[in-house]
Subunit: 239 residues, 2 copies
């Protein structure tokens, strides 16, 4: 029985940096499921065209193909699917719990991720496969309404990030994880974008004594250091 | 059997404007529990000194006295207590669900409330009992590091609020409430500070077609319009 996660990669295929794919990696590990993480480029639309309606031009990762033929897209939907297909070791749970995790997803996507992208956008760009660079530049410049170089502002990004993290910082004074005493779906949802920075940026975004950095370190250590073992640009630079 | 909620009030005792007390009102209504909402001033420390250790100078509302002698303070702890003491019609639930609600509490307190306070601080001040005004000015000016008049900045507050609300706006595109299809503990936790503005400010903070305003309207309508029936400064002005 095959289980495949199509997983965004950089110029070096070992660089796996998509926040949404990282949510999925952590969720699959949380469930104790084996899978193949198949490297995928932004421009490999054809390869995952099966996952969407139409000509495949809107296809994006993560795409999970489970049990040979069950196709699930969108990281939040994948977590929901995994809870349904593999009960036990709950990720999102349901009802109120799932709905609150959805709010945390939007907090991550509307407040944290825009701040981090502003700081690291060129770190991402420079580590993309050269086939992906024109695609990335065109789509992101259209989205941002400016060039990548103009958009990038490390100081402003870090300031936005500092402001965005206030609720997480307060929460982590009380509990080690967003989901309480142990990591869960809400943690993986928020963690994804931090992995993008961890993989693609030479320097850490946060100080070692920051409670958010300590939370990130706890998540890097989960599953026998699964995320900590991910290849980063630092590993490539030292080769 | 007596159940008493000590409830912060303004110069007119019908003005009930504490965000933390409003969380508690909604939670008690959610559980279908009757109670007396006893008006309380910031300076009535003696009256609730029984709720804290020491001389009572740190006592604050909400204070819930349940079943004559069970004393619970802090709005989040009161919601937890109510789930424990009155199972059914869950407010926070437990484990992941409760922990995610705690994150939403901190989002409300570190991002939404500071924005709203910046806009409405003088609306609050002017509607306080004259015994409370010096206390409020002194404690808040110490906290803000500036005078109430300097702190107040409606435009800046509304801009901060607009930025703070992005995750809630996205969430409400998917679901009518933070807790899903029906209102729950996370909604009441976030709603409290909106009630402070609703009660104390003559003009609404948000446009009628804002999804957050529509969410607020749904919460005002809950429990046969319980919150909508609250006395506001608009009611007093029209007398």
């Amino acid at each position: 029985m095959a289980r495949i996660l199509y997983d965004l990669c950089g110029a070096d295929q070992r660089l796996r940096f998509s926040p949404f794919c990282w949510r999925t990696h952590m969720a699959l590990k949380h469930k104790g499921l084996d899978y193949e993480a198949r490297p995928w480029l932004f421009t490999d639309k054809d390869e995952i065209a099966f996952s969407v309606e139409g000509d495949g031009s809107k296809a994006t990762v993560p795409v999970l193909v489970d049990d040979d033929d069950r196709v699930v897209t969108d990281s939040f939907e994948i977590l929901r699917y995994l809870d349904h297909a593999y009960p036990g070791m709950t990720l999102l749970a349901h009802d109120q719990a799932e709905s609150r995790a959805r709010f945390i997803k939007y907090w991550s996507e509307t407040q944290v991720a825009p701040a981090i992208f502003r700081a690291i956008i060129l770190d991402i760009f420079h580590n993309l496969d050269e086939r992906d660079q024109p695609y990335f530049r065109e789509t992101r410049e259209k989205r941002f309404g400016t060039t990548l170089e103009e958009f990038r502002n490390v100081d402003q990004g870090l300031e936005m990030l500092d402001r965005a993290l206030t609720p997480l910082r307060s929460h982590l004074q009380d509990l080690p994880f967003l989901d309480g005493q142990t990591a869960g779906g809400a943690d993986y949802i928020a963690f994804g974008i931090f992995m993008t920075a961890h993989v693609m940026r030479a320097e850490p975004l946060l100080a070692e004594d920051d409670v958010v950095m300590q939370w990130q370190n706890r998540l890097l250590d989960e599953f026998q250091g699964f995320a900590r073992n991910a290849t980063t640009v630092r590993d490539l630079a030292s080769n």
